[in-house]
Symmetry: C2
Subunit: 379 residues, 2 copies
C-alpha cells in the first residue's frame, strides 16, 4: 500500500473528502514525504477519499512530479498552472468539497497540543477559506500521526540501512581528523560522503573544546584543538534519517573528568535502553537515566538540560512525543516507533559530552540500530 492509499484510508475513517497539502518553498515536509521528490515552487497536493488524487504545480516542476509518482505507483493526476490567475480557477473545483483535512496544529501551547501538524501558514489558510467559504477544514494531525509515528517494515529496513552507512563513515573519523582542521572541514567531509548516496538529515554539529558545551552548536571555522570533539550527525537515504552523536578525545592523555563522564554517560544510556519498550510511558527511560546519573554524583538538572530523546524517521525530529522525564504520564511508546537515546553532560564554557544512539521500540526489548563505543575513541 503506497502512502496515498494509506492516507486515503485514514481520511475515510475521519469522514473527510480530502487532505490538502499546500507547499511553497519547502514549507511543508509532507510534500516530499508523499511525492518522493522535492518540489520548490507553490504547489497543492490533494489526497482524495475517493481515490481521485491530484497535484497542482507549476509547469516547470510538473514533469518531475509525474515521474516521481509513477515510480512510486501512485495514481494521481498532475495538473499545471502558469500564473496565480491561472492557479485559482484550477484549485477551486478540487477543494470545493464539504470536509477537508489541512496541516494545522491545535493547542500548540500545551503539552497535549498538535504542533507537529502545524505547517500551513496563516496567509495560505485564509486564502483558501475565502476561495471555498462553505468547506469545513479540520486538522490533519491524526492522519500525520498514523502515517508517520509507527514505522512500516520497509521504513525500518531503510533505517537499518541508513544507520549502517552512517556508522561505517563515523568509524573512519580517526583516520582523517587531525588537529588544525576546522570544524567546518569535518562537517564538509561527512556531508560529502552522505551526498554521494543520499543527503545530510541535518547540518552536522562539529564542536571542538568549549563548543561541545553547546548542545546545538553551529559548526564554525574554529580549528580542532586537543581535548573534547563532539560530532552529532545524520544521513537520509530514501525514507529514513539516522541521527548519531559520538564524543571523541583529540590528543594524548584524556582527562580523568572526561573518562569518568564518558563511562557514566555510556552506562546511563544503557540503563535507559532497557525502557525503550512498547507500552512503557515516555518519561520512564529519561527518569531512569537521570536517576542513574544522580546516583553517580552528577547534578543532572544543571548539567543535562535537554530531553533524552526524540522520534526519528522521515525527519531527524520526527512525529511523536519526546522522551523527557517531565513528559505527561499518559504518553506511551508503541512497537516500531523509532527514537534517539541521547544523554549528555555539559559544563558551560568548558566542555560537554553526548552519546546518541537510535533504537526501534520492541515488544520485549528495543533494537539498538546504532552504537557508541564503550571506551572513548582517541584521535
Amino acid at each position: 500500500m503506497n502512502k496515498f492509499e494509506k492516507a486515503q484510508e485514514l481520511l475515510n475513517d475521519l469522514n473527510g473528502d480530502g487532505w490538502l497539502i499546500i507547499c511553497n518553498e519547502d514549507s511543508d515536509i509532507h510534500s516530499r514525504f508523499l511525492l518522493g521528490v522535492a518540489s520548490h515552487a507553490r504547489h497543492y497536493i490533494y489526497v482524495a477519499a475517493n481515490g481521485q488524487h491530484k497535484v497542482l504545480s507549476v509547469e516547470m516542476e510538473a514533469g518531475m512530479i509525474k515521474k516521481a509518482l509513477e515510480k512510486k505507483g501512485v495514481d494521481a493526476k498532475v495538473i499545471f498552472y502558469t500564473t496565480i490567475e491561472d492557479l485559482v480557477p484550477k484549485l477551486k473545483p478540487i477543494i470545493n468539497k464539504p470536509r477537508i483535512a489541512l496541516n494545522f496544529g491545535e493547542n500548540v501551547l500545551t503539552e497535549e497540543g498538535t504542533a507537529y501538524a502545524d505547517h500551513i501558514r496563516v496567509g495560505d489558510f485564509f486564502s483558501i477559506k475565502e476561495l471555498v467559504p462553505n468547506t469545513e477544514f479540520f486538522s490533519a494531525a491524526p492522519i500525520i500521526e498514523e502515517l508517520r509515528s509507527v514505522k512500516t517494515p520497509e521504513e525500518l529496513d531503510d533505517l537499518r540501512n541508513v544507520c549502517k552507512a552512517t556508522l561505517e563513515l563515523l568509524e573512519t573519523i580517526p583516520d582523517w581528523v587531525k588537529i588544525g582542521m576546522t570544524e567546518k572541514e569535518i562537517q564538509a567531509k561527512l556531508e560529502y560522503e552522505y551526498t554521494k548516496i543520499g543527503k545530510p538529515s541535518f547540518e552536522a554539529i562539529v564542536a571542538s573544546g568549549a563548543h561541545s558545551a553547546d548542545p546545538h552548536h553551529n559548526t564554525s571555522t574554529k580549528k580542532i584543538e586537543p581535548g573534547v570533539l563532539l560530532i552529532d550527525t545524520g544521513l537520509q537515504i530514501d525514507q529514513m534519517c539516522s541521527d548519531i552523536t559520538w564524543t571523541f578525545w583529540v590528543g594524548n592523555n584524556p582527562s580523568d573528568e572526561f573518562l569518568q563522564a564518558y563511562q557514566i554517560l555510556y552506562e546511563s544510556k544503557e540503563v535507559a535502553n532497557k525502557y525503550f519498550i512498547a507500552d512503557i510511558p515516555n518519561y520512564l527511560p529519561a527518569k531512569m537515566c537521570r536517576d542513574f546519573l544522580a546516583e553517580k554524583g552528577y547534578d543532572h538538572e544543571r548539567l543535562f538540560f535537554h530531553g533524552l530523546g526524540h522520534s526519528l524517521g522521515f525527519e531527524a525530529h520526527d512525529i511523536g512525543a519526546r522522551i523527557r522525564w517531565k513528559s505527561p504520564k499518559e504518553y506511551r511508546l508503541k512497537e516500531n516507533m523509532v527514537y534517539t537515546n541521547e544523554p549528555g553532560l555539559y559544563w558551560s564554557g568548558k566542555w560537554g559530552i553526548r552519546q546518541e544512539d537510535d533504537v526501534i521500540i520492541g515488544k520485549e526489548e528495543c533494537e539498538q540500530v546504532t552504537y557508541n563505543h564503550k571506551d572513548p575513541i582517541i584521535i
Copy 2:
C-alpha cells in the same frame, strides 16, 4: 546600524509596539536572518519599538543565541524556558502590547499579495491570539520588504565575495568531472567545498542528458553520460547567497542544435542584462529576452516555461517580485536590488540548457557579479 535597530525604526514608522517572530524547527528564515545563528527548537524573537528586544528560547540554545547576538552588537535580553508550561507565562508579558507585527501574508492568491511574508503557522497564530486577545496583529510584510529587498553596501560586498568563490569552484569542474561519475557525486564535491567556507544556498541541481530538460531536477545517482550537463548551484557565506547555472557539453563533438541554442541563449541573456536597471518595470528584461529568442526562431512559450529571474539575497529565492514577462506593469526594479538572469530552453525528454547569472541593479546599468562562458565548456 544592526538589523534589530533597522527593524526597530521601521516598526516605529508603522506605529507598532513590536515585531514577533515565532520559529520552530526552522519554520521562519527571519530567525537566522536576525540572530545570525540557526536555532532549531521553538523560540520567539521580539523586536521592540522601544529597543527592549527579547529572545525566548529553550535552555539548550540560549547560550548560543546570546553569543551570536553579542558578536553582532545587538542589545537583546535572552530568556530561556524549560517546558511549554514554563514558556507561556514568560511569553505573555512580552507580547501583551497594543499592536504587534507578525510574519503573515495577505492576499497570497493574487499577484499583488504578500506571500513572501507568510511564515507564521495557523496553530501558532491562534495560540497567541488566545494568549493576548486584546492585541492587534498586523502583517510584517512592509518591514520584511524594507529590510531585505534592497541590499546594503555590506550585503553587496558579501555577494561579490560569495559569487567570486562560487565561480572559482565552477572553473575547476572540467578538471574533475568525468563520464561515469554520478550526478550526486558532482553535487557532493561542490557542496563539500562550500561547506568548508559556508553552506550550500540550496541543493545543487546536477542534470545529465534528458534530466537537463527538468529545470528543477532532483539530482540523482544516474551516471554522467556524453552530451548535455547542466549544473545549477549556489553558496552562502554570511548574509548572501550565490545562484549560478552553467551548462556544459560532455564528450566530443557537441551537436549543432546545442551549440546554436547555447549561443542564442547567451545573447538573449545579454539582451536582458541591459534592462536590469533602476526604475525599469520588472517585466521588461523578460520580455526583451523572449522577443530576442522568438526572433531567432525559438518557440519560447513552449521551450522556456519559467520566469527569467528572481530576487537573490539572504535566501536563494529572496524578497522581491520575480522577473516575468507577464509581471504587472507597476512592479519596478530599484537600485541595489539583486536578481538572477536565467533564460533557459528545454526539450522535454531530450535535453535542456540554462545560463544563470547574478546582477546588481544599478542606476545606469547593472553590475554583473557572475558570468557564463560565451562558448560552452567541453568536458
